[in-house]
């Protein structure tokens, strides 16, 4: 056999990629760690090493209240979205309930909406004075049982976005489970439902724990939700606490200390996840034999399930979405004025007439489209190194991909600014879309990685071993075998990355210039100064664009968010 000399040995290539990844991920963390241990903000001269920031943080009662609130909110959100997400993954992919495609679409819609706009929709409809709540109270005996301005209320709104994420992360595994495993249970006398629940559900353990970790981590750092819904009820979460101290007192040291705390927390959660999942070889479902998807017949119960899901999705998705559309097409949305009397297209024309908004849309599309695709590839490569190789430091890659998400977005933005300023003296990257794109991409690594982890766990090791024994190098085995098999996960990763990078705002505060506006920041500025109509209009435009891009991606590449 011809022995081809490779340019770089596999191990050396792993080290090279690992070093590059570390540069991009840990590089920005260094200014944050430095700021947390320094007595003055980084831009001020002087100052000295100090533990005061951590001391001030840990002795502040307000901080621990915020931590408690955040943990409660995150726990509620995670629990609810896991239950809903997994139930939907089971019912919508493996059973024969009617209307599966519509229900799936409805479930996934909230992901396409920017968070701010989704909250606008919820606020317009389901708050105590909202349209839908008032209508329910005046016309029926029902009323909205959950107060949106409380932690359970915020968790409910958060769940609308978290459960489709859980669904996306679990669906791939659900579809790849070998029916032979369930057949084995059937031959022993288990009914179809029992075999589904006792064989297939446990196989979802990597996907479920991974999704739980992601949702929990995201809940700890989400900012828009508590700022809009929790503020008037004096509910402080970690994110609003840090945001307050950053913007109002310019206490960079204190906030950096808080960011370090969050990083340590997520590192601990990741260790917990790996512990809970254990040996991923137990969850192998893709083993080289052709598999089909066995659909479970539920009988008459399927109408009940379908109806239940439809009702749930109507309340949590359709009604808030209607609120968004109403807000976009009216000049002012209020239960006191009939919406039909204030219908207008002015909100949309205000968006299209303003060069700032249209260039924000174009810039963000570029960042999200091109950046999202490139980042998906990068994550794919890093994930296989982290989970399919014998690379010595693969554990650090797993950690590294999650950390950037945990830092408050403003801190990430500042950190990237400093990194760019120190490493790129010419400023070419920093003041271009590439700089913003890199900051957004690194911040969203966790989302893409979460899509890959369960998919990789599900692929049996014997498949790449088969390639290796035929003489393929490690990279060839990955390229020809593993990457092909994780194509659905790549699709899911791209979806999550595209949406996240389209909407991201705060990391760009220090990086954006008048020539490179981005959609997230533009939307925040609009939200601060308008009565909601223009924000909703921008959100509707963004949602349409997202759906068009994702639909086009599916048509062109055959890459779909589902297998």
């Amino acid at each position: 056999m011809k022995h081809r000399r490779r340019l770089l040995s596999t191990n050396a290539s792993h080290y090279l990629l690992w070093a590059l990844a570390l540069l991009v991920i840990v590089g920005p963390l260094a200014p944050v760690a430095a700021a947390s241990l320094w007595s003055t903000p980084l831009y001020d001269s002087g100052g000295h090493f100090t533990w005061d920031n951590f001391h001030a943080l840990f002795t502040d009662g307000g901080w621990w209240t915020a931590v408690g609130n955040s943990i409660l909110f995150a726990a509620l959100n995670t629990a609810a979205s896991i239950v809903v997400g997994v139930a939907c993954a089971v019912f919508l992919t493996r059973t024969d309930i009617p209307g599966r495609r519509i229900l799936t679409t409805l479930l996934l819609l909230p992901i396409a909406l920017p968070g701010l706009v989704l909250i606008v929709g919820w606020a317009a409809m389901w708050t105590p004075a909202g349209f839908a709540s008032s209508w329910l109270e005046t016309n029926t005996f029902l009323s909205m049982p959950v107060d949106l301005y409380s932690i359970p209320g915020m968790a409910m709104v958060g769940m609308t976005v978290a459960s489709p994420t859980v669904f996306l992360l679990c669906r791939g595994t659900m579809l790849s489970i070998d029916p032979a495993l369930e057949d084995a249970a059937r031959t022993l006398g288990a009914g179809p439902l029992r075999s589904l629940l006792s064989v297939s559900l446990p196989l979802l353990r990597p996907a479920i724990t991974n999704a739980a970790l992601l949702v929990f981590a995201l809940s700890m750092e989400v900012l828009g939700l508590p700022l809009i819904l929790g503020y008037s009820s004096k509910i402080n979460l970690i994110s609003t606490y840090l945001y307050d101290h950053w913007t109002n007192d310019a206490q960079q040291g204190l906030v950096s200390a808080g960011a370090v705390f969050l990083l340590v927390a997520v590192a601990g959660l990741l260790v917990l996840r790996n512990r809970l999942v254990g040996d991923t070889a137990r969850f192998t479902t893709t083993t080289g034999k052709p598999t089909g998807v066995r659909v479970l017949k539920l009988g008459w119960v399927r109408w009940l399930v379908s109806g239940g899901l439809a009702l749930f999705l109507t309340v949590s998705v359709v009604v808030p979405l209607a609120g968004v559309v109403l807000a976009a097409f009216t000049s002012i949305l209020s239960p006191f004025i009939s919406p039909w009397s204030v219908l207008t297209l002015d909100n949309f024309s205000a968006v299209f007439d303003n060069a700032l908004y249209t260039s924000s849309i174009v810039n963000s599309l570029l960042i999200a489209g091109v950046g999202g695709a490139l980042t998906t590839l990068v994550i794919a490569v890093l994930s296989v190194i982290a989970h399919r190789s014998r690379f010595r430091f693969r554990g650090s890659l797993q950690q590294g991909m999650l950390w950037p998400r945990m830092m408050p977005a403003l801190v990430t933005g500042m950190a990237f600014f400093w990194s760019f300023a120190l490493l790129d003296k010419s400023g070419a990257i920093r003041s271009s879309l590439w700089g913003i794109g890199i900051a957004f991409a690194v911040r969203s690594l966790a989302l893409g990685y979460s899509a890959f982890y369960p998919a990789l766990a599900a692929i049996g090791a014997d498949l790449d071993h088969a390639a290796r024994t035929s003489g393929a190098s490690w990279w060839t085995a990955m390229r020809t075998v593993v990457f092909r098999l994780v194509a659905p996960a790549m699709g899911a990763s791209f979806v999550l990355l595209f949406v996240a990078m389209l909407n991201d705002a705060e990391p760009a505060v220090f990086l954006v210039t008048d020539k490179t506006p981005v959609l997230g920041l533009t939307m925040l500025q609009l939200a601060a100064t308008s009565i909601g109509g223009s924000v909703a209009a921008l959100g509707v435009i963004q949602m349409v664009i997202t759906l068009v891009v994702l639909g086009a991606g599916r048509a062109l590449l055959g890459v779909r968010p589902r297998a």
Binding site: D244, I332, I337, F348, F417, A528
Partner: protein, 372 residues
């Protein structure tokens, strides 16, 4: 998934196409003045000397960091670029805290930063001056401007932005809407939790409270302490207005004057009404300053000169600023505010005395009154 998303896309695309085909100019022009108010006589123009103007034209652009949004700065950009073709006004919108932090971070790393900053936050701006970031020079316009226009060495007021009270007319009919803060405080006991304002961490809110209490003293604190337990606090104006329109709140006070333009539009006026409170219409100076590390200092001076001139103030009026110099015809100008509030009740001055020293105590006292 294709079927539903295609339908959505089609519907929205139709709406979008209809809009693009049939839209008129998006920006709303200034409303016609409700009553003719005497705006005084315009002083003669005071331009900069020719050498500065020539250097400015060579520099070619001015980078402005401001808390005013795109719609507010658009008329100013148009007017400035029309008057000085060849000099581009580049505007970057961000809130006050970000403006100063970004300037500090950019100068610390040697990156191009703002030539001009325009901000409302009094303490932020004074700290900015104290750190030596502002170019101290005297614009020729100053000799025709009232004394309170100069806020600090090198810092001049562009606009005196009032804060207003806004009511939901469906819940509190126009006749019953309180015309001063003391009556609102009395009313608030019967509508506990239905009155809103923004948090003192917001520079406009802090400016309003500090200006109000430095004018009214302990009587002012008494009113705030009466309002405190009955008021809910929001993080920003956007939420406040939305909840007010929905009926979650019946009244809101110390609201940024930028809502006036949004309410003058007939549709919003069906449900929202704003008023200048007789005893509590703080006027917050919007400060403008040329920075020390400006890359285009002469263009910056030219821009500030334009902004302070009668022509520039007319353009600012179109954006919703509140001009205060004589001879500027504006529905939202200072004379219009004085006509409602009464010239004696309008307190014009620079920043409140000792504001930097007193900030901590004011914030503490406010937080106690509002239980935050």
């Amino acid at each position: 998934m294709i079927s539903l998303s295609k339908a959505c896309a089609l519907a929205a695309a139709c709406a979008v196409v209809l809009t693009a085909c049939g839209s008129s100019a998006g920006t709303s022009g200034s409303a016609t003045p409700t009553a003719s108010v005497d705006v005084g006589k315009a002083s003669p123009v005071t331009p900069l000397d020719a050498a500065v103007t020539a250097r400015a034209k060579k520099q070619g652009s001015v980078l402005l960091y401001t808390n005013a949004d795109a719609q507010q700065t658009a008329p100013i950009t148009k007017a400035f670029e029309a008057k000085y073709p060849g000099i581009k006004l580049r505007v970057l919108n961000m809130n006050d805290a970000q403006t100063f932090q970004r300037y500090a971070t950019e100068t610390a790393t040697g990156v191009r930063t703002a030539d001009v900053v325009m901000a409302t936050d009094s303490v932020g701006m004074l700290d900015f001056v104290r750190k030596g970031n502002v170019l101290d020079y005297t614009d020729p316009n100053l000799k025709n401007l009232p004394g309170y226009a100069q806020l600090a060495p090198g810092v001049v007021a562009v606009s005196e932005d009032p804060l207003v009270a806004v009511y939901n007319t469906a819940l509190i009919p126009k006749k019953k809407q309180p015309k001063d803060l003391a009556s609102l405080a009395r009313l608030s006991t019967s509508i506990k939790g239905k009155v809103g304002t923004t948090d003192i961490s917001n520079p406009q809110s802090f400016g309003a409270v500090s200006s109000y209490v430095s004018q009214q003293g302990d009587a002012g604190w008494k009113n705030l302490q009466a309002l405190g337990p009955n008021t809910k606090v929001e993080s920003g104006n956007g939420n406040l207005m939305q909840k007010l329109a929905q009926g979650e709140y019946q009244a809101a006070y110390f609201v940024s004057g930028s809502v006036r333009a949004l309410i003058e539009d007939q549709k919003a006026a069906k449900i929202l009404n704003y008023t200048y409170l007789k005893d509590a219409t703080p006027l917050l100076p919007r400060a403008v300053a040329v920075t020390k590390k400006a890359a285009s200092p002469d263009a910056a001076k030219l821009f500030v000169n334009f902004l302070l001139s009668v022509e520039g103030q007319q353009a600012a009026c179109k954006g919703g600023f509140t001009p205060y110099r004589d001879g500027v015809d504006c529905a939202y100008g200072l004379p219009a505010v004085e006509a409602v509030v009464g010239a004696d009740n309008v307190v014009l001055g620079g920043y409140p005395k000792d504001i930097v020293k007193n900030k901590a105590t004011i914030v503490e006292r406010w937080k106690k009154a509002y239980d935050r």
